[in-house]
Subunit: 462 residues, 2 copies
């Protein structure tokens, strides 16, 4: 799609596009402040710092679960900081925080947003989500101090309860914003450790139950003109391939199944193999088969949970086993093909040993593949080309879910990945180097500036 000879040409297949034949836009000329970014990120991680893993001052993980006192503290700080920059701050009924800086055009059109989340896992790290919001703030600070104005309004979103760790629904409030999750269902989510506390009661307690509807609807909610998210990769591909920027063009589809395999409990000493109905043996063969099938399709199939009854014992064949199956691929057709092939293989396995077993399954999650907006992706690719060149960046598909997956349903969206050490995430030792944090933030700045210019050209008067 890209020619790198002479003037780089950006070609897209959809209707709204970068003008064919125009030269690659020049860099913004702005330079984010790496130290300010790093210090701000770690200073604010004092709210929720936990799980020390080494001696350094920042060598802890985080436990800043959504809408806890620590989360409320960092939200309050964030509100103050964006208001200092002159941003207008709006909070919707899910506590999503929208900070908006006016653009040169004084257009009423929805702002170009840089969004992510400030909440963490209970044993999380300092970068997942947090980097995206801190980078966005650094972009606005950099623009402010240099007197730079985008054409359109630009801003930041802090999405509530992205992790789903305290109130169990991940990407919760971008999901409500996108119309994918009913707000009442989200409000009714209960704290996994204290069922007397709901997400809504915590929004109220902290004063984050805003007036505005949580929606992308332009008349009642808070629509966005675009959504860019900088995030750590949470996987090993960038570090292992020596790349520093991932240009994320979509999110893979995934389906989560729970398999229940039924057999018959029997004494392991007195029951010959021929007389057994052993669900754990069958489940083992199924898990191995699902891996081999997925591998053949260049897809992923993973089992994270397996359970035998609580009264299981060394010398008893279990009566029942349940296990999860998580199938992923950037193309939905492949996800479905892997699932079909697995179920067919499971049928064969079920009759393979002894007197056979039976199984049934439920589909717990069906998340089709998402393709991000070509122009947003091109803006990020242009930024990456300027900053690190084509060899040090790569087109990627996100393996995990992110708020951007939901925003992409209602506004042009894309993501930037930066490497995290060894691909470790959702862990106290999660780490993104100061250099990579800074590089990602600079890429975010360049990408939104590119996109703003493109938008002005394609939407503005000719």
């Amino acid at each position: 799609m890209y020619s790198t000879k002479g003037a780089t040409r950006v070609l897209f297949s959809n209707t709204r596009r970068f003008s064919t034949g125009t030269q690659l836009r020049a860099p913004s000329g702005l330079k984010i402040n790496p130290d300010r970014l790093w210090n701000t990120l770690h200073e604010t991680c004092e709210w929720g710092a936990a799980h020390r893993y080494n001696d350094g001052p920042t060598d802890t993980g985080m436990a800043r679960l959504t809408l806890t006192d620590e989360d409320a503290s960092v939200r309050k700080w964030f509100a103050t900081e964006v208001q200092k920059l002159g941003c207008a701050l709006v909070v919707d009924q899910m506590g999503n925080m929208f900070a908006r800086q006016s653009g040169r055009l004084n257009s009423p059109a929805p702002m170009i947003a840089m969004g992510s989340h400030l909440d963490t896992q209970p044993r999380g790290g300092r970068y997942d989500g947090i980097l995206g919001v801190m980078a966005a703030l650094e972009v606005l600070r950099t623009m402010k101090e240099s007197g730079f104005q985008t054409n359109y309004d630009i801003g930041i979103v802090n999405w509530t309860n992205e992790e789903g760790a305290r109130f169990p629904k991940s990407m919760c409030s971008s999901g409500v914003w996108a119309g994918a999750i009913p707000i009442q269902e989200a409000w009714d989510l209960r704290d996994i450790h204290d069922s007397s506390v709901t997400l809504r009661s915590e929004l109220e307690r902290h004063g984050y139950l805003g007036d505005i509807t949580c929606s992308s609807d332009p008349t009642t909610g808070y629509p966005l003109g675009a959504h860019f998210e900088l995030h750590i990769e949470q996987g090993p591909i960038l570090p292992e391939t020596g790349r520093s920027i991932g240009v994320v063009r979509g999110a893979q589809g995934y389906r989560w199944l729970t398999m229940t395999v039924h057999g018959k409990d029997a004494h392991t000493g007195t029951t010959p193999f021929s007389a057994r109905q052993d669900p754990l043996l069958a489940s083992s063969r199924m898990i191995a088969a699902s891996h081999d099938i997925a591998k053949k399709h260049n897809a992923l199939a993973s089992t994270g949970i397996i359970r035998v009854p609580s009264n299981a014992s060394t010398n008893t064949v279990s009566s029942q086993v349940t296990f999860t199956l998580d199938i992923r691929h950037p193309q939905d057709s492949v996800v479905h093909a892997v699932q079909d092939e697995c179920l067919k293989a499971f049928d064969t396995i079920a009759s393979q040993d002894g007197k056979g077993v039976s199984f049934d399954w439920t589909l717990d999650t069906d998340s089709p593949a998402v393709k991000f907006d070509d122009n947003c992706v091109a803006s990020i690719q242009a930024a990456a080309d300027q900053l690190v060149g084509r060899e040090k960046s790569m087109l990627m598909t996100s393996g995990a879910g992110h708020d951007t997956v939901y925003t992409s349903k209602h506004c042009p969206s894309a993501m930037i990945f930066v490497p995290c050490k060894d691909g470790v995430s959702h862990h106290p030792a999660e780490y993104c180097s100061p250099q990579d944090c800074a590089l990602g933030t600079q890429a975010l700045l360049e990408a939104v500036v590119h996109y703003d210019q493109f938008r002005a050209e394609s939407e503005g008067p000719k």
Copy 2:
């Protein structure tokens, strides 16, 4: 070993043996009372009846855990019944109950015992252990009412805590008697639901902490001249082959291992297979491999328990998995060969997928194969031949552990198996038909009479 042409010859390879060339002894002429046996068994199952599974009066399982009030009730009843028959009752320091009927010779030699246990699993049935004690009582009642006297003293043993379900050590008190388990360790066992209660404190509470040492030592304990145990098979071999009596010549060896497979937690969506260290995938392949290896050796290998960390989730590769491995075969050399081959295969599997996993293992139980006494086995085979013929009986190796495994270390011992429906045991619906209960009891009677005659011939004055 047996010739069925003309006079049946009984040949053995060990030194103390049935006299070669003598004719098969005649049946005792005694006939046990099937109704009395059946009614007594089910009447006494009122103490501990639980887990109704159908409408009939005896359609419940049992929850008569050792040294509970229900167990104390049936012990008290048992003591009364054997004393009514004129037996001397001795209780040792583990609460083992020895009821002894004098023989014709008035010999001080240790009695020929018929033993089993009156305790059950928490969700157990009405036959496991109970049938063996009730059959022994029916044998003594039958002898008493017909005025039959054995040469040597004959009696019954009710072994304490065979199941190990309440105080977690199975075959506990026959193990102490055999010197395999230190009495202090057994006394100190704690109720799995109430750690303030020990086996010893319950023995004291119910008055079953006897004076006599729990030992086979003739000077301090209660030695036995032989031990015969009637038991349900707890497996499907007899019912599936249409046999009614199993002549049990030993118990298979078994080794219990716990495998711990170490990997690294990783996001299932963002971590390519090539970067994973997935212990659940490896464990699955190991479980399947262990089955295939055991099958090749005509041995058994079974996994009853598998555990992932409690924080496991659908979209996370587990960091660690543990599973049990139970390897069995009548020959210890085969048990060892299967273990060695499994560990070798596990080594290969550990490096097979992605970045590989590591594993370690512990040996939790090592129970070598046991060969029962040839003369006891021959006595049972002779009884089976008389009662059902060679086609309806079979030589077997016990797959499970029994008190007889321990007694066999210190006195000639063997077991009789009778079929239980579908091989189901340790389950409320465990069932042995009235006909099979009666047949097994008659076989027990004939076997002890045979053995008593053999003993008189081989030990008595020529």
